[in-house]
Amino acid sequence: MENLIGLLVAAPLLGAAVLLCGGRALDRVGHWLGTALAGVSFLIGAVLFADMLGEETSDRALHSHLFSWIPVGGFRADVGFQLDQLSMTFVLLITGVGTLIHIYSIGYMEHDERRRRFFGYLNLFLAAMLLLVLADNYLLLYVGWEGVGLASYLLIGFWQHKPSAATAAKKAFIVNRVGDVGLSIAIMLMFTTFGTFAFAPVLSEADRAGEGKLTAIGLMLLLAACGKSAQVPLQSWLGDAMEGPTPVSALIHAATMVTAGVYLITRSGAIFNAAPDAQTAVVTVGAVTLLFGAIVGCAKDDIKKALAGSTMSQIGYMILAAGLGPIGYVFAIMHLVTHGFFKAGLFLGAGSVMHAMNDEVDMRKYGGLRRYMPITFATFGLGYLAIIGFPGLSGFWSKDKIIEAAFAKGGTEGWILGAATLLGAAITAYYMTRVMLLTFFGEKRWQPAPDPHKTAGIEPGAEAHPGELPHPHESPKSMTIPMIVLAFGSVFAGGLFSLNDAFVNWLEPVTGHDHGDSPLSAATVTAGTMVVLVVGVALAWAQYGRRPVPVTAPRGSALTRAARRDLLQDDFNHVVLVKPGEYLTRGLDRVDHTLVDGAVNGAAASVGGLSGRLRKLQNGYARTYAVSMFGGAAVLIAATLLMRAV
């Protein structure tokens, strides 16, 4: 069984290599090949899962050592895999959702002439993500971490002819670099502290290291998680990343990659458990981000950006849960999985809508689509109910547990966190209802297709005729089937996980679990959640359901305007980071030009001048040469004698 673990990674990696190196010859079969290899990886994952279920709880973790990667003196880096319940959960999510999105992309990218390359990148992403969650040490995890960053960059900028996509890709890459630096520093700190960066020794000996060091490592890991999972203050890239094709948004920027930060913190639980200050930082980041993302999601008219804000907010929930320690790890991962289902489903639904509406993304120009796209409406609707936490659906089970856990943290901190999560739930209900109403209900606000010559970049697949109103239609089967499957997950996954605490029992051996000490009973919390849910939905209905929605957005309050601009995140970064950076580079450039270049050019000029003067000594007369020799000999002899005298 251990040998199969390598195959999990190898299958999509092979796909990426073949598709990216294969050239045009593979254009006609490339998407099938890519999808098949993703499916193979999922099947292997399923086999391993079945096998793992058959084992005793204590024997479930598998290890597979492939080879010694960098053996240098006391430094030893191995390529080895570790498949335990936590990794298994991720493997199934990644390969399962990944395969569905591969299938969806066959239809979605049908008219793109670079479809083969797209599938190559998707396979590359799967391989890197699997490597990330299967690695048995932090250095190999880092390889996967960078690999998913690369795949994300390539896919966000997939329509590189659009300047906005190219810029968004660069932005995502650069912001992620900041987080990556955190991870690399964390790994270095681990090596100096523990002498190794393999999971087993680091995590088992974590409590023996000093708290100061663990806090430093924890904060660096948190920085890494912030970058990859789009948490405040490194959140700015996620909204722009929606420039990528919608399947990419669904797979990478909603269901899997952006949750890598949650994985990292959960996996490093032993470090955080022993570093309460770092945990406080984690919950703070989570709480701030869950509100930040939710507020941004309320103001966006672009359906994908609204969903992106929502993703940020939901990951904020997970990070918050992970920061709670053993009370929250399990629920962080549980929410991660259910979120993977419903958010991927929502994005695929959004893609389906855009597909039908000439790639229009402005929800104010949708309206009344439920009659034209029943399947999309149904699946999107189920995803919607799941995310707002409608009783019985997936989101209800997982989010409710996080809110309970937040209160269970105890003390003032518990109250603050609990309040934040409840407020977040209210806002979630508000903005998701808004999306739902704007898109599927109300009157048609459809606009003629824009002139493709005027707007750069039309998503391929759309047969847009300038000046015509869109003709919404249901998407092809390759797109609807994944949506239906995901909708099933959105509905039933949470309930299934909560049956007899199945998910808690499954993960507890890896992450540990603790019930905490909640001042409120579970029923009270649930009741509170229901109240805020109703309030949120009612507010949205009052605003967008009762009266007609203007096609052009009203000016709105100052908060709305700020939220439309992502709460001024880019302005903040511009003033605080970009400007000083520019001044610094400009200053350095000037120093380089005047001082460094001056010194270098001055040295060169003086050597050249010296050369020209010395050259004149070489005048061509043998007598001069002889004098030079004679003088040289005299000096040589004198110097020799002098040396003896000294």
Partner: protein
């Protein structure tokens, strides 16, 4: 003068008046590399004397190639017979050492000379005159340049096949030079290889006046330096009462208590030792082209026929550094604290002087001349190391450098215009666009000169600097690296000139050489890359050969 057994030598025995003259004992087998080459040189003279003019070229080429190859085989056989290591000793009654450094350097000189013979024999480059194929050498060297006799000789299609025996004589002298184990043998070897070189320098077919001028300068200054050397030898004899290296070393070390009565006034006088040693050093530093004894180098390199320049630059440097190493490591190790600071100064001047003055050169051959001066400085840094690594790194450097030099000058012979070789640097502009292959090959040699990794130049420079640093000459290494940086400027400037400048309308053309020059250049490139990419085997070889017999 008495011939005490401890200080007798080949020369003393011959001069000993009172004793019965014993038959010198000569180990012919161990001296066979030298003997083969000398014999072939004599045979070459006979070929000139007795064969018809038309057949001489082929015969001379055959004799030269076969003899050099045979001599090389003899060196290999001696090395295989452990003469380089365990059986190393001094042959010919103390006159010639057969040991690791000697065999390594002799092997290098023979290979370099073999390749040089190829460039000497090239007859495709110059356009045919009156239907005769001609080489780089004057038709009738004795004729007045531009006179009627010369005109007649050119029309008759004469060629100077004497260059081959001259080359062989020079090679013979060079083989003895680094192996010489007494000062008189050293001097004789010096003259044996210098005199043919003076003549060879004067034999250029084009620019004959320049060529003759260079030969006269070389001869005058060479004679001057020989005088220093000879006077130094006399002083050393006065100090030690002997001319053998080991004998002098014994006196320096204070192991000889018996004073020769005839030399009672002088023996053991340190002033004689220091002045004599310094003067011998001057003679050798002249040959390696170290500042301030370098001034002949650019003029002679420029004026001499390019194949001769290549041979001289490569082989002379090997032989002269070999002799210098032996002198310093065998005769004068006891004086290390006296000669090291002096050589420090010389090395610094040589590295910086060569590199700095090269920057403003406008002629390829002069540029390479200054480059060779700078390289002499780098090699001196290795010599100064005075440890075993110093010897082996210098041996490696010499082997690497000589092939690069030979190849570079061979490329220079290819770039021609109506006046013969176009050595003006400005004419090389854009050469890479017209003849990418030739320009690329020259670029490889330039990169090797500059010491860029993956070329032999890097491996050699690294070895030398490492040895110097370990030998306590760290500041010298710093100066060496600075000089290398300065030198890299003009090497790379030539590459830029060849590849990134527009070709000139009246630029030179690249002649298509015969297999001879092609193989010479090919061997140069191959050795440069092999020693650059996989130097370890050769470094080990040099390391094994790094012990002098005494």
């Amino acid at each position: 003068m008495s011939s005490a057994p401890s200080v007798h030598s080949l020369w003393m025995t011959a001069a000993g008046p009172r004793d019965k003259i014993p038959t010198p004992h000569i180990e012919y087998g161990q001296l066979s590399p030298v003997l083969i080459v000398v014999g072939a040189a004599v045979l070459g003279i006979l070929v000139e004397a007795f064969l018809p003019r038309r057949q001489r070229y082929a015969a001379q080429l055959f004799v030269s190639v076969v003899s050099l190859a045979a001599a090389f085989a003899a060196v290999i056989a001696l090395a295989a017979g452990d003469y380089g290591t365990s059986k190393a000793h001094v042959a010919a009654m103390g006159a010639i050492a057969v040991d690791g450094p000697a065999l390594f350097l002799q092997g290098t000189i023979l290979l370099v000379s073999l390749v040089a013979v190829f460039t000497f024999a090239e007859r495709r480059l110059d356009p045919q005159t009156h239907g005769n194929r001609v080489d780089s050498f004057a038709a009738q060297p004795a004729a007045v340049p531009g006179g009627e006799a010369e005109e007649a000789a050119v029309r008759a299609g004469f060629t100077s096949t004497e260059v081959f025996p001259l080359l062989l004589f020079a090679v013979a002298g060079m083989l003895v030079f680094p192996a010489a184990n007494d000062l008189l043998t050293l001097f004789v070897a010096l003259e044996v290889f210098s005199l043919p070189l003076y003549i060879l320098c004067a034999l250029a077919r084009r620019h004959r006046l320049l060529s003759q001028e260079s030969a006269v300068k070389y001869f005058l200054l060479g004679a001057f330096s020989s005088a220093f050397l000879l006077f130094g030898i006399a002083l050393l004899y006065g100090y030690a009462g002997t001319v053998t290296y080991s004998g002098i070393a014994d006196v320096v070390d204070g192991q000889v208590s018996r004073v020769d009565p005839a030399l009672a006034q002088t023996m053991g006088n340190d002033a004689l030792l220091l002045i004599g040693g310094a003067m011998v050093l001057v003679g050798l530093l002249f040959k390696v082209g170290a500042v301030p004894f370098h001034m002949w180098t650019p003029d002679v390199y420029q004026g001499a026929p390019t194949p001769v320049t290549g041979f001289m630059a490569a082989a002379t440097k090997v032989a002269a550094f070999g002799a210098l190493l032996r002198l310093l490591y065998v005769v004068l190790p006891g004086l290390r604290w006296d000669w090291r600071p002096v050589l420090w100064g010389v090395a610094i001047l040589t590295m910086l002087g060569g590199a700095v003055v090269a920057i403003t050169q406008t002629d390829v051959k002069r540029l390479l001349a200054y480059s060779s001066i700078a390289h002499a400085g780098f090699i001196l840094a290795g010599v100064i190391a005075t440890n075993k690594d110093g010897v082996s790194s210098v041996l490696f450097y010499l082997a690497a450098y000589s092939f690069v030099t030979l190849g570079a000058f061979a490329v220079v012979t290819l770039v021609r215009d109506a006046g013969g070789e176009a050595t003006q640097l400005s004419k090389w502009a854009g050469l890479g666009r017209r003849s990418p292959l030739v320009a690329a090959v020259f670029a490889v040699f330039l990169l090797a000169f500059a010491g860029i990794p993956l070329t032999s130049g890097f491996a050699g420079k690294f070895a030398v600097f490492k040895a110097a640093a370990e030998g306590g000459a760290g500041p010298l290494v710093v100066v060496g690296v600075i000089a290398s940086a300065v030198a890299a400027f003009f090497y790379i400037r030539v590459i830029v000139l060849m590849f990134f400048n527009e070709p000139k309308a009246d630029g030179p053309t690249v002649a298509v050489p015969s297999a001879l020059t092609t193989s010479a250049i090919g061997i140069g490139v191959a050795v440069t890359l092999v020693l650059g990419v996989a130097p370890q085997y050769f470094l080990d070889l040099a390391s094994q050969a790094g012990v002098f017999v005494r």
